[in-house]
Every structure is written in structure tokens, then in C-alpha cells.
Amino acid sequence: MTSRKTVLVLGGSSDIGRAAARAFAKAGYDVGLAGRDATALEPDAADLRARYNIEASTWTFDVLDTASFDGFVAGLPVLPEIVVSVIGLLGVQPTAESDLAHATTIMRSNYEGPSLILGLFAEKFLARGNGTIVGVSSVAGDRGRASNYVYGSAKAGLSAFLSGLRARASRGGVHVVTVKPGFVRTKMTEGMKLIGPLTVDAPIVGDAILSAVEKKTDVVYVSGKWRLVMLIIKTLPEAVFKKLKF
């Protein structure tokens, strides 16, 4: 036990999760990394300890196993000050259009699981009277597009959940941050054609998450350009929008 604050990163093996963990560790937080395979997270925990001289721990957490959530939260030795969920699954849109199992996995990984676990932590934080919840959603949730609406609709659900949770929890001293990264160069987007000026590296997202927590920002578009791009996309009339293929 240390006197430092603790952040728990759900999805700790993802590039954005690792970047967020480093940003918080550098700022002096102890870090918990949670993912499907806790042993696979150990090298990242060792990295954080060696770099920043903080305590880092690893936890097994499966976002699809919602029945385990109560036990997961109860099993933590301390309730963290901050929980960050970077969990998400892009999936394959054309497959999801006919394969219901795949579509279900995308929806559950992006909406159901992250919302339920963050909601559960919010209850504990409200009981304590403080804490910060960070959900990494997506600009894809701002409007369903032909090329990725299964993923986008699930992210829209997460964004709506976080928005409502924020309104309720703010009265109880708990802050909720919604992060919409835009294009990020990561394992998830490898091989995709990304638009250079709209694309950032994962460490930028990690720093943006830390900064949003410290400044109590509500909704973060990591690159300001995306706020403008999505504003335009959101205001297009449906008659025009439905003709677009992107």
C-alpha cells in the first residue's frame, strides 16, 4: 500500500491502454492493468515499475463475462480513484451483417460490457463520494455510417450511457469522461487506410486521457479536428447522408 492514487486500466494490453497506463504512472499514480490474460500483462506492469518507480499490478478481466463483474470489483484490494476502460472491438462489418454471433460480440464488447462494468464502479465511487470514470468511446458512435454501423451503434450506446451516468454521478462527486479518439495508429487499425492529418499515435491519446481526468473534462475529442469533422457529419440531412458510402 502506498499513499499514491491508483488508476485501474481495463483493456491494459491494448495500445491505448498501455499509453494511458504510462501517462498515469509518469504522473505518479499506481497502476492496475486488467485484461483477459493477466500473465500477458506482466511485462507491461514491469515496464511501468522500472520506468516510473510506482506499483503496478495485473488482473484478469473478461468484458464478455458480465457474471464475473461483481466478483471482480469485490476482489480488488483497494477501490481505485480512477477507472479507465479502453476496451473495444472493431470487428468486421461485412461479416457482422450476416453473422449474428459476430455482431453480438461487437455489440457486447463495445456497449454492454464496458457500460456495465463502468456503471458498477460508478456505484462504488458514489458510495465513497468521489472518483473518476473514463470510457473510451469513438467518433464512430456520433452517427451510424454504412461502413461500420454495428461497431458505431455499440459505441453510440456507450456514449449515451456515459452521458447519462455523468449527469447523475456529478451530483455525487463522481466525474465521468467520454473519450473519442478518432483515428489512432494501433494494432486495431493496422492495415486500415487512415487519413494522416486526422490520425494520432497512442501516446497522444494516453496524455489526453490523463489531462481530461485532471481537468475534469466531460467529452474529449483527442484531435480538435474530429469535433469539426463529426459536427459536419452529424448535421448532414439524412437524405444526403444515406447516399454516402463511407
Partner: protein
């Protein structure tokens, strides 16, 4: 396939780029084609970090395994960048012993090129501070190599341009420093003789480097500014200064390929003359500067390689052995100044012994010159190479994109020993780069 090039953006060639996420995946990537090489952050200028068939991107391996603040000993994955090490461990009082002119290089790349810094004359190259390396050989073994264990492979890997296998991890020592500031002294030298005398006289300085006005001719030939540096102690900082300065990421960037005429005789002459005069004004007393501008003056401009235009540029970096270096350097500078398109940063520095079989440094003077790719530049550089070879010198493989086999073989007498070790580690020649095809491999 993807078009790949080095920092000089010449040549641009096809190679399949993979970014494995585990050491097992690195092994698989090496095993199933004959012709791959590891690539770090892509700062080698020519074709060193481009696989003959496949290029293995290593920057995803960016974890620190362990660090012991009592000894400064660190174990890390090969894709960690020196910029990351400096930003992370600098504030804790530790810096790499050796840094090249850019901090955006990976540890694996720094080992493979056995990079040198402004302290090579006294403290040696990057490899001197590497204790051991985890290497994935072309044959499929993963071995730990050091001065004591598999030492042949170790000395072939230091400076071996990635051709002994993929460097996965390394253990190295960091230097303990009081601050992240450098006490700098600038000396102006009116010609080449004065510059060489000044470098000689400042042999005891930890860091020394000369910037040469390579547009100056006649009496002014070789006029230079010499930058000496020492790590500043806490009591030398101005009051209120942070012990460790903040290294800003490149703010200003060259957004597009500038037209190739941007750099011409007139703009280069004007730039050099101005730079010399501004620097000469600062000459004399000591002042304390942040390590970032001292070690990495060009890092503050993102993508500065684009200033040379779409066709790219060549850096010619040679080293001339000490006895007789003065005459040869004079001849080279004379040719370059008459030609007039040499670049705006020409660097002269004293080197000591190299540690690896193919390490570039040898006791003498190294001269680095940039040229845009155009006209008869390749023939011109061949002409300079003849002077280098005649003087018993050699060219730096990390910068090279065009030297001939004859020049290379003349400059590196340990080559046959290197080749034998390489063959024992990789009999099927699974590890091959565009550079090795050009200079090493049997055809």
C-alpha cells in the same frame, strides 16, 4: 509490398513490412523467407534497414524490463527509442552514455550501427555501454551474447547493421548526471588548420564537434565553429531552472517536399555565412544550454529530410585516419566548396577506436556532408571515395546508400571475419537487407 526508404529518402524500394507483436512472431517472420532485416525507427539514411524481401518493424517492442538506479543498469526491448529513454530516465538523473545527432533512434538500431556521439574521442561508441544482447539468429536460435558469452557474435552484432540477427533486447548502462543541462563553449576557427588544432587542443572535453562552413573557399576553407560541452552541475544552473529541461516534440515541421531548387549555391552560401557569423559572436565564455538543442539541433524541426525535395538526399560520412588527415580533408573540402551544393550542416569530429568488427569509427577525423540527389552527384561522391580509400579511410554504413563494394571492402579489413561469424549464425542467409545485397552477399 510497400515502398520503403531510409531517412535520406533515397533509394525508395519495395519490401514487405511486418510489425510482429511477440518475439515468437519475430522468429516466424525471419524463418519463412530468405531476406529479412529488422528496422527500428527508420533513421538510417540509406538502405540498411530495408529487408531484401521483408522488413521487420521493431518499434512496438518498447518495454523497459528492469532498471537498477544503484548501478544505472537497464534491460530493455530493442524498439525503445533514445528519446523515450532520455525523457523517462533523464528526470531521474540518468542519460545514455552515447547519443547520436538525433534522439529518435531505437536502441536496436543504435547497437546495429554502433552509433557515435560528440564524446567518441574519449568515451567510445554506443556499443561500449552495452553489456549483453538477446539475439534471434537467422538460424532460428535465440541467444544471449556478451563480451564473455558468444563473444564472436557479440562483436559482430555491435555495428553489424542487423545482419547477425534480430536484436530483441539489450542490457546497457546509463550515465548518472546531476542535471539535463550542458555547459557549452563555442570556439571559432578561421580555417581548417585552426579547426583541427582546436579539436586536438580540446581532446579532454567530454563532448566536442565542429560545424564547418563548407561553402567557404580559399583562405577561409574549412572555417568552423567548435562546440565543446560538459555536463552541468546543479550549482552551475541559473537560479530557478529545473534540473531537467523539457524536451519538446518537434513543433515546427516541414509539411511538404520543398522544390529541389530551395537549396542552391546562393541559399547555401548565405545560410553558411550567416550561421558562422552568428556562432562566432557567441564564441568565448561558457553558457549553459539544454541537452536537447546541444545534442539534437535538427530534432526540433520535424521531417527536416523533406527540405531536400522529393528525390531525397545523400549523406556522405567518411573517417580519415589521423596521420595525414589534414591534407585529405583539405582536398575533399576543396572539391565540395567548388561544387557548391553541399549542405547546410557539415560536421567534423574526432573519433577514437570502434568496438565492433564493423564499427565505423577509427582514430582520426570524420566528416559528414549532405547532398541533394541530382545531377552527377553519384559520380562526384565516387571521386571523394577514391580520396578516402587512398587515405585508408572508410564510410559509415548507417548513412550509406551508394558506395561501391570495392570502397566498402577496402575500408573494413575485419569484413572476412565478420562474414564467417555471420555465416555460422545464419548459414541459409535468412537475414539479408538491401544494404547487404549491395555490399556483403555473395552474388
Amino acid at each position: 509490398m510497400t515502398l520503403v526508404s531510409g531517412w535520406g529518402r533515397f533509394p525508395v524500394v519495395d519490401s514487405e513490412v511486418l510489425r510482429p507483436r511477440s518475439f515468437e512472431a519475430v522468429g516466424a517472420a525471419v524463418a519463412d523467407v530468405t531476406g529479412s532485416v529488422a528496422r527500428g525507427n527508420g533513421r538510417a539514411y540509406g538502405d540498411a534497414a530495408i529487408g531484401a524481401i521483408r522488413t521487420i518493424g521493431m518499434t512496438g517492442f518498447d518495454r523497459v524490463r528492469s532498471f537498477d538506479p544503484a548501478t544505472g543498469r537497464i534491460r530493455l526491448e530493442a524498439g525503445v527509442l533514445l528519446s523515450d529513454l532520455i525523457d523517462t530516465f533523464g528526470p531521474r538523473g540518468f542519460l545514455p552514455f552515447v547519443v547520436p545527432g538525433t534522439r529518435f533512434v531505437s536502441v536496436g538500431g543504435a547497437i546495429a550501427a554502433d552509433v557515435h556521439g560528440k564524446n567518441h574521442h574519449g568515451e567510445g561508441g554506443f556499443g561500449r555501454y552495452v553489456d549483453s544482447i538477446l539475439l534471434r539468429t537467422g538460424q532460428g536460435e535465440t541467444i544471449e551474447i556478451s563480451r564473455e558469452q558468444n563473444s564472436d557474435a557479440f562483436f559482430a552484432t555491435i555495428g553489424g547493421m542487423g545482419l547477425t540477427g534480430v536484436i530483441l533486447e539489450a542490457t546497457m548502462r546509463l550515465r548518472s548526471v546531476e542535471t539535463g543541462w550542458i555547459r557549452e563553449r563555442v570556439i571559432s576557427a578561421s580555417d581548417l588548420d585552426a579547426a583541427l588544432r582546436a579539436l586536438e587542443a580540446s581532446f579532454s572535453a567530454t563532448y566536442s564537434v565542429a560545424w564547418i562552413d563548407c561553402a567557404a573557399r580559399g583562405r577561409d576553407l574549412g572555417r568552423s565553429l567548435i562546440y565543446l560541452g560538459e555536463h552541468a552541475r546543479v550549482d552551475e544552473l541559473t537560479e530557478g531552472a529545473d534540473r531537467f529541461p523539457v524536451g519538446k516534440n518537434p513543433g515546427l515541421a516541414v509539411p511538404i517536399d520543398l522544390p529541389s531548387m530551395t537549396l542552391n549555391r546562393i541559399s547555401i552560401r548565405a545560410f553558411n555565412a550567416l550561421y558562422y557569423r552568428m556562432g562566432a559572436r557567441r564564441a568565448g565564455g561558457d553558457h549553459v544550454v539544454s541537452l536537447y538543442p546541444y545534442f539534437f539541433p535538427l530534432d526540433s524541426i520535424g521531417d527536416w529530410n523533406r527540405i531536400y525535395g522529393r528525390r531525397g538526399f545523400l549523406q556522405h560520412q567518411c573517417v580519415i585516419p589521423e596521420p595525414g588527415a589534414r591534407a585529405v580533408l583539405g582536398d575533399i573540402l576543396d572539391l565540395v566548396s567548388k561544387r557548391g551544393d553541399a549542405s547546410f550542416l557539415a560536421v567534423l569530429k574526432k573519433l577514437g577506436h570502434g568496438d565492433g568488427l564493423l564499427s565505423f569509427p577509427l582514430p582520426g577525423y570524420t566528416l559528414a556532408l549532405d547532398f541533394p540527389v541530382k545531377g552527377d552527384i553519384l559520380n562526384f561522391l565516387d571521386e571523394i571515395d577514391r580520396l578516402v580509400v587512398a587515405a585508408g579511410g572508410r564510410l559509415y554504413l548507417a548513412k550509406d546508400a551508394r558506395q561501391s563494394r570495392a570502397t566498402f571492402e577496402a575500408g573494413y579489413p575485419a569484413l572476412s571475419r565478420f562474414n564467417a561469424i555471420r555465416k555460422s549464425l545464419d548459414p541459409a542467409q535468412n537475414i539479408r537487407s538491401k544494404l547487404s545485397q549491395r555490399l556483403f552477399d555473395e552474388v
